[in-house]
Amino acid sequence: MKLNGGQALIKSLEMEGVEVMFGLPGGAILPVYDPIIDSPIRHILVRHEQGAGHMAEGYAHATGRPGVAMVTSGPGATNIVTPLCDAMMDSIPIVVITGQVPSMAIGTDAFQECDTIGITRSVTKHNELVTSAQDIPRVIHEAFHIATTGRPGPVLVDIPKDIVDPRHPNSAMEWYWPDSIDLPGYKPTTKGHPKMIREAARLIGESRRPVIYAGGGILKARAAEVLRELAELTGIHVVTTLMARGAFPDSHPLCLGMPGMHGNYTAVTSMQKADLLIALGSRFDDRVTGKVAAFAPDAKIIHVDIDPAELGKVRRPDVPIVGDCRLVIEELVRAVRDLGGAEAQPDRTEWNDTLRSWRETYPLRYEQGWEEGDKLKPQFCIESLCANSPDDTIVVSGVGQHQMWSSQLWKFDHPYTWVNSGGLGTMGFAVPAAVGAKVGMPGRTVWAIDGDGCFQMTAQELVTASAERIPIKVAILNNAYLGMVRQWQELFYEERYSEVYLSPDLPDYKMWAEAMGCVGLRVEHPDDVVAAIDKANSIDDRPVVIDFRCDSDEKVYPMVAAGTSNDDIILGPEFGQGGH
């Protein structure tokens, strides 16, 4: 069958099972947009290419299937660099297709030419410039394979215009679909080493103060169920990192919640005092370890990760296991059973009592006042959202204070209900990622919890959401500041507030939302919070934005200051520590 390169590209995406893609056309990618008219693939037209990338990420986060974005050359490609880097840091499987100037124009500084492959080399798992129309099915097939296997990540495919333009002879190709993959340098290890797994089971059976340190790899490996089996079999408590919220239910008695810079006291301190850390798909990120030299000084380490480079990168493991988290944990459960299962676990009453007393003594705290003149607390807004939304609501956040409060206070009881930018910390992630999540999971309620600073970076994608009838909901915790920066300036720069004030009224978020085709609501008093949330949850034919006017002075606690030890955790003013 004779096809042109553009047809072959769209057909290849169909062969990969792509149902939806996010993009924005332009000169170099124009020929590929023509066959989209005849394809069953839904294309969502974004307002800025960054939005397309984050939507693809949100879609992948929520569904586990690779997200697809397509943009043009030059500025289209550079605008999607941030989502690529974000997906690289958080191991999100996305495939990005960029147009490129015609082959013969490459290297001549042609209109809208840039070195896309060079620019994106370090922010992709792999990228490739296709040089012949005949290679398109093979390269697309490889791109999806690389993006979704091993440690997932972003793959970019750069397509010169001449190989997809039906008016150019270079676009002629004979259709085929590759039945195998030939990548001699790419064979991810998925099965853990049996001897190491037995050794891990033995260490677990000797440990008096073990903690499971569950990371985002649990979710990537679809390992939430087997993680629960391991925890319940051994009776070991679980901390869930920022990337793993929802991987283990918050309502489970063994769940300790989030560790790290803004983790709760018990999660942070349990790791510090542990004699064994069972790191599953986590990477000892600096936001979790604090000062590495002082991190979990007495703990032996079992480290399971599909990426061998993570083992020993930050902390040398006693038992390194390269493999897929689900497969390895399944084997680990078997190995623990072989050693006698639950009955053979040592008596950990003392440790469990210690954890319980920490939880009772040091809960997360904030005070919502109800007197006239008391300001609305952002934490109260989040708890109210959680209490008044469906149990399986997908929560998407931007980056900053609102992200930390959401992660701390939302009760996540299902995997894939928490979508955020962890590694790169991309402000503006929430709105487009929520659109992508809702497209992937149309039956679920999707709440973006955003800051006013973040919202202003990518709010234009609400136009996309309105136009495409993607009814997401956005809660802006509007404290009129770049709140997290303000918090650091208050605590570490003697309250010298430099370039962090944004104004609560400029822009007028309610009017802005309405101008973008959304329902706009505003809440200034705690009494009105629940009614507004109920109203938002009842609307399902268009996006809703609530402008919550929040207390600017509120800070995220607990906090481990950057570069300090987790032992020096600051609990906050409710405990007589930290600022006012």
Binding site: I117, R121, H126, P184, G185, K187, P308, A309, G312
Partner: protein
């Protein structure tokens, strides 16, 4: 410049012979702050693959992290690590040295001692080519400095495992 000390390790990296692979490898070193001491690329007997010989500074970063990160590049097929003690290494140097008056005879004498060859002769300088173990090149370079080096180029080393000790290069198990 002591090139052959234990702070350095040799990696021979088999890569797919595709456009941009060298940029991927050198870009990875730059991004992660790994130091390259020298680097040489050449095709292998199989046209699908090329071999990159990299001498790395293992004082700045553990060798293990360097090889693991390299393995993550899709186009990297195999990495062999050669301890300098278990490898034969050669490097080529071309150097132009001032050679006037009495010095001219001394330079020519040293070239003969080091088994180099004079490949170009000018009125007041000569150009010498010398191949050998990097340490020998270091010594020659030091000696020539006294006469005045006007230009110098070295290729970076290539290496193969030493035969008489039967060392299989520590073939790193492909873990990823």
């Amino acid at each position: 410049m002591a090139a052959s000390t234990s702070k350095h390790h040799i990696l021979t990296v088999l890569v797919e012979n595709k456009a941009g692979v060298l940029a991927r490898v050198s870009g990875l070193f730059a991004r992660r702050g790994f130091n390259i001491y020298s680097l040489a690329v050449a095709p292998t007997d199989d046209p699908r693959f090329s071999r990159i010989t990299i001498v790395v500074d293992v004082e700045s970063t553990p060798l293990e992290q360097i090889t693991k990160q390299l393995f993550k590049l899709i186009n990297v097929v195999k990495i062999s690590e050669l301890d300098p003690a278990d490898a034969v290494e050669r490097e080529l140097m071309m150097v132009t040295v001032k050679a006037e008056g009495a010095g001219r005879g001394q330079v020519i004498e040293l070239v003969q001692v080091f088994e180099g060859r004079i490949i170009d002769v000018g009125t007041d300088a000569i150009t010498v080519v010398l191949a050998g173990p990097p340490s020998k090149l270091d010594d020659f370079e030091d000696l020539m400095r006294g006469f005045g080096i006007t230009q110098l180029q070295r290729t970076g080393r290539v290496a193969l495992p030493r035969l008489e000790r039967q060392p299989h290069p520590t073939r790193l198990r492909r873990a990823g």
